[in-house]
Symmetry: C2
Subunit: 193 residues, 2 copies
DNA sequence: AAATGCATGTAACGCGTTACATGATTTT
DNA sequence: AAAATCATGTAACGCGTTACATGCATTT
């Protein structure tokens, strides 16, 4: 198996919940861990093949009811062991790369209007996310009330909430600061008070 | 020039401050934007060559006083224009990838001790960062008091502060949650109160 | 003389995205 | 019949890290 990629383990993780197709995994990932992790088909399908070749997953049944045939995979006992081993290894945190901040760092009074607009957008996006988090939280509390993993899922959600709140707060502070530049104050199409 | 990489622009940005060598850029980047951006030599040196070939930077003087010869680069007028154009383009935010959260999402009561330890470490790291931010802030306010870019630099710093505070807060909440599992409470080597 | 540190640079590798190709089914 | 949707898959590409190679100076 690949040395450093966590993609195969993300796949194994989802397959512990229930057997799934690559398509399902993608969809599930987007809705449940999308706020801190992303996977593309270009990663998932090849990974599934490798995992199958190593006996960590097995093809369950290819049912063709509705649409193209679906390849459903299930995790094997060896797959569960591999997942456990991965779980025990310390996570490495990737070096951060935030292009908005990079641009802001090299801003000047003339061009700061751009930043103000981007930051206003970001503020709205993160505010919208907070609403999504709340609804996702309600949904989890209702539909997964007794799932033993619920506390862990909620913990990752809380991370997103803390993060978004911090970002929204920073956005407002920074918009206020940028607003002190006349060039910015006059040009920004803002709904920030 | 490369289509999507922001590395060349980060380099151009630093060269607007003062002419520098690749080595200097790396050091400067680590200390000033290291909390939200990273560059490696493997990126910087080839980028500098390309930028030179395109006339966006020029080699200034290769002074060999002390150690190996130093290649110092300065930004050209065309380089400034390229930087301005980049500044005007909206930043794209990379899809997030947080391996700690991925592992936590697939945690179970047995293995949650690992997470608790990592989270305790993270909490200390982010707490230490907060102290670094404060000292960096003091330094900026003293040494760059009149630099026109100071407000933008402070804004990026505030981002880090908000972010770290949020993470520390989440860490504590999550440690408390994990502590309710007997298996975790007994095994974690903790100094968290 | 050896080891360490400064400074420049390259090569190889793997990862992940993007774009594309395919094919079947349902909708219009 | 055409368009849109579901589902699987591949190929190409670029980016960024890691590891390595080099060489000069200073320290021990």
């Amino acid at each position: 198996m690949a040395r450093t990629s966590s993609t195969p383990y993300a796949i194994l993780g989802f397959l512990t919940l229930t057997p799934m197709s690559g398509y399902d995994i993608r969809k599930e990932a987007a809705s449940s861990i999308g706020h801190f992790w992303s996977e593309s088909y270009g990663q998932i399908y090849p990974s599934l093949r490798k995992l199958e070749a190593e006996g960590l997953v097995r093809r369950q049944n290819t049912d063709s009811s509705g649409g193209r045939e679906r390849q459903t995979f299930a995790i094997t006992p060896r797959g569960r062991k591999a997942l456990q081993k991965w779980r025990a290894r310390a996570p490495h945190s990737a070096p951060p790369r935030n292009e908005l901040l990079l641009k802001l760092f090299f801003a000047d009074e003339q061009s700061a209007t751009h930043d103000a607009n981007w930051i206003a957008e970001l503020k709205e996006k993160e505010t919208a996310r907070l609403a999504e988090y709340r609804s996702l939280r309600r949904q989890l509390l209702k539909e997964q009330r007794n799932h033993p993993s619920l506390p862990f899922w909620l913990a990752t959600l809380r991370y997103g909430i803390h993060r978004s709140r911090a970002v929204v707060c920073w956005c407002q502070e920074t918009l206020d600061m940028l607003g002190t530049y006349p060039a910015v104050a006059n040009q920004v199409s803002q709904k920030n008070g």
